[in-house]
């Protein structure tokens, strides 16, 4: 059985106690997207302001557990100032970190997909969330803000396409 120290790493508790980028942004220019975790009723609201293809500002409001709140806080710190392609790449890496471990937990070993997609060094603080995969029910908590971010990026892309045409 996985120990609690795998889940509640000090850096996670730090982001939980002092979350970064809490608050709201004016819409427009920012987009506002809500994310729900039906399991626990958590709701987060993401404000994303993208200018010239990079994240100018991002804020999070709403409520959640320590895992969802710290994941959201770390995510905002990681994507601020990054261009969209980099952000998309980070989302892919983060999600594969959450799923690769799930595959490794399966009794018959790894799946066919290579497990080496993630470079933990590029992850910085986010690597602390790796322990969450040992607590499968909590994976949804960790990925809530990331899924909401995907929604926001998709919405921005749709908007851009519509204004181009």
């Amino acid at each position: 059985m996985a120990g609690l120290e795998d889940l509640y790493r000090e850096i996670i508790l730090d982001h939980y106690r002092s979350p970064r980028n809490r608050g709201e942004l004016p819409t427009p220019p920012a987009v506002r997207v809500e994310g729900f975790n039906p399991l626990c009723g958590d709701e987060i609201v993401l404000y994303l302001d993208v200018e010239n293809g990079s994240v100018r500002d991002v804020k999070i409001s709403g409520q959640g557990c320590s895992i969802s709140q710290s994941s959201a806080s770390m995510m905002t710190a990681a994507i601020k100032g990054k261009d969209i392609a980099e952000v998309r790449g980070l989302i892919r890496s983060f999600k594969s970190m959450m799923t690769i471990h799930e595959a490794q937990l399966e009794p018959d070993g790894a799946r066919d997909e290579p497990a080496a997609l993630v470079d933990p060094d590029s992850f910085g603080e986010l690597a602390a969330l790796q322990g969450v995969v040992k607590f499968p029910v909590r994976i949804k908590c960790a990925t809530l803000s990331w899924n909401t971010l995907v929604q926001a990026l998709d919405e921005l892309e749709t908007k851009a396409m519509n204004s181009d045409s």
Binding site: M1, L4, L13, L39, G41, D42, Q63, G64, S66
Partner: protein, 416 residues
């Protein structure tokens, strides 16, 4: 109200009847405080189901050979036990086995609702309901212009019945929880049934959280329909009970169609068989019925009044212990010593999220529920997304409560 359990009621002996409670997790014995979600079951239930499969299994109401007749007899005996538990006037005809209470509600909304509710009709629910007594009616509302009125919750976590006459006026059905799965509040049904019947409405009560814990007499309560479920009553999953007065069931069209529920089928039509089988299409959960029967027999051997008295004194001990020890706790429900209060204790623990509370408690081998408890409208009314919920049953004792308190000390330490 001080009640003393009978000397025959010994929690240690009762605990030893439940194999799962022997489980050791990280060096500690399991402390199971989630019986409102699903209870554990005693060895006698497991043995009854095992014995049924090993010696008796055959499909019911079909074969003419000995074991098929015996299986039918055991299935129908369970029906009588399920009916006698709630003092149903005619158990052999009025007890319908369903999958769970959720299916019982869907059956009533689909069958009774589609026959009796038309555009402009009114039903009454409460804002404290489980989703099982909300969503089937909301689904019906998507098809038909029915009006749903809601009885509100007051600041003492009880239904506000101050204008009940006006709320039920013109309604065809009033469907309320008999005991809240979040608040622990036991509903005072008497003023509701009186007003509803005067208005010509039927009353359905959700007995999921009451029947396993208190004496329930549908005739004394004067309700018209009631649902309860096996797995919260020490029985297996996959079997629930819908009781309704025979004349109501006779007027209702069938729910699921198939074998068992017909008297004749032609290529251009069918006719249904008698109640209760009219509502039991397909091969029913036979072993589960046998298990439910064994659970009811076990419950009656302990005595429902003894269980109620034990739970009441343990609930008071739990509420006092939590409130004395933790300033940051807020319990959403009637306080210690309150009348009509069951052993479901939902709370907020400072600003620590219920998932985090439950996760750390698990490290102490204490099993509680964290979440919205399938009552999202009630969560909104309480102003929270989720609560932590400890719920008690006959096999819990003061040591379990002390373990909960010790676990919460650990939660406080981790997140302060």
């Amino acid at each position: 109200m001080a009640t003393v359990a009978s000397p025959a009621f010994d929690v240690e002996t009762i605990k030893s009847d439940f194999p799962l409670l022997d489980r050791v997790q990280a060096g500690r014995k399991i402390v199971f405080l989630d019986s409102a979600a699903s209870s554990q079951r005693p060895r006698s239930v497991l043995n009854a189901m095992d014995d049924y499969y090993q010696t008796t299994h055959a499909n019911v109401h079909r074969g003419v050979y000995a074991i098929a007749e015996e299986a039918t007899r055991r299935y129908e005996e369970a029906r009588l036990l399920a009916g006698r538990l709630i003092n149903a006037p005619d158990p052999a005809r009025e007890i319908i086995f369903t999958k769970n209470v959720t299916e019982a509600y869907n059956l009533v909304a689909y069958s009774w609702g589609r026959k009796n509710l038309h555009d402009g009709d009114v039903i009454v629910l409460t804002e404290t309901e489980h989703h099982a007594n909300l969503v089937p009616w909301l689904m019906l509302q998507e098809e038909r212009k029915i009006t749903i009125r809601y009885i509100a919750m007051d600041d003492d976590y009880r239904l506000d019945l101050s204008d009940i006459e006006a709320v039920v006026d013109g309604a065809k059905l009033v469907s309320v929880t008999a005991a809240s799965n979040v608040l622990g509040t036991i509903t005072d049904l008497e003023p509701i049934t009186r007003a509803a019947h005067r208005a010509g409405a039927l009353v359905m009560a959700d007995g999921a959280q009451l029947v396993p814990h208190r004496r329930v007499d549908v005739q004394a309560l004067d309700v018209d329909l009631l649902g309860y479920t096996g797995h919260k009553l020490m029985g297996p999953t996959g079997i629930g009970v819908l009781w309704a007065r025979a004349e109501i069931l006779e007027e209702m069209p069938p729910f699921l169609g198939g074998g068992e529920m017909i008297s004749d089928v032609r290529l251009d039509g069918f006719s249904t068989t008698d109640i209760p089988w009219k509502f039991e299409a397909g091969t029913p959960p036979i072993a589960e019925a046998v298990g439910l029967g064994a659970a009811i027999t076990y419950l009656e051997s302990i005595g429902i009044d003894n269980i109620a008295a034990h739970e009441q004194s343990l609930t008071n001990y739990a509420i006092r212990s939590l409130q004395e020890r933790f300033d940051e706790i807020e319990i959403f429900g009637p306080g210690a010593d309150a009348e009509r209060r069951g052993g479901v204790i939902s709370f907020r623990f400072g600003d620590i999220h219920p998932h985090d509370v439950a996760q750390v408690l698990d490290e102490h081998a204490v099993c509680v529920r964290a979440g919205h408890h399938c009552a999202k409208p009630l969560m909104r009314r309480l102003g929270v997304n989720a609560t932590t919920r400890a719920s008690l049953y006959l096999y819990n004792d003061e040591h379990d409560i002390d373990a909960l308190v010790a676990g919460l000390e650990g939660v406080r330490k981790m997140f302060s």
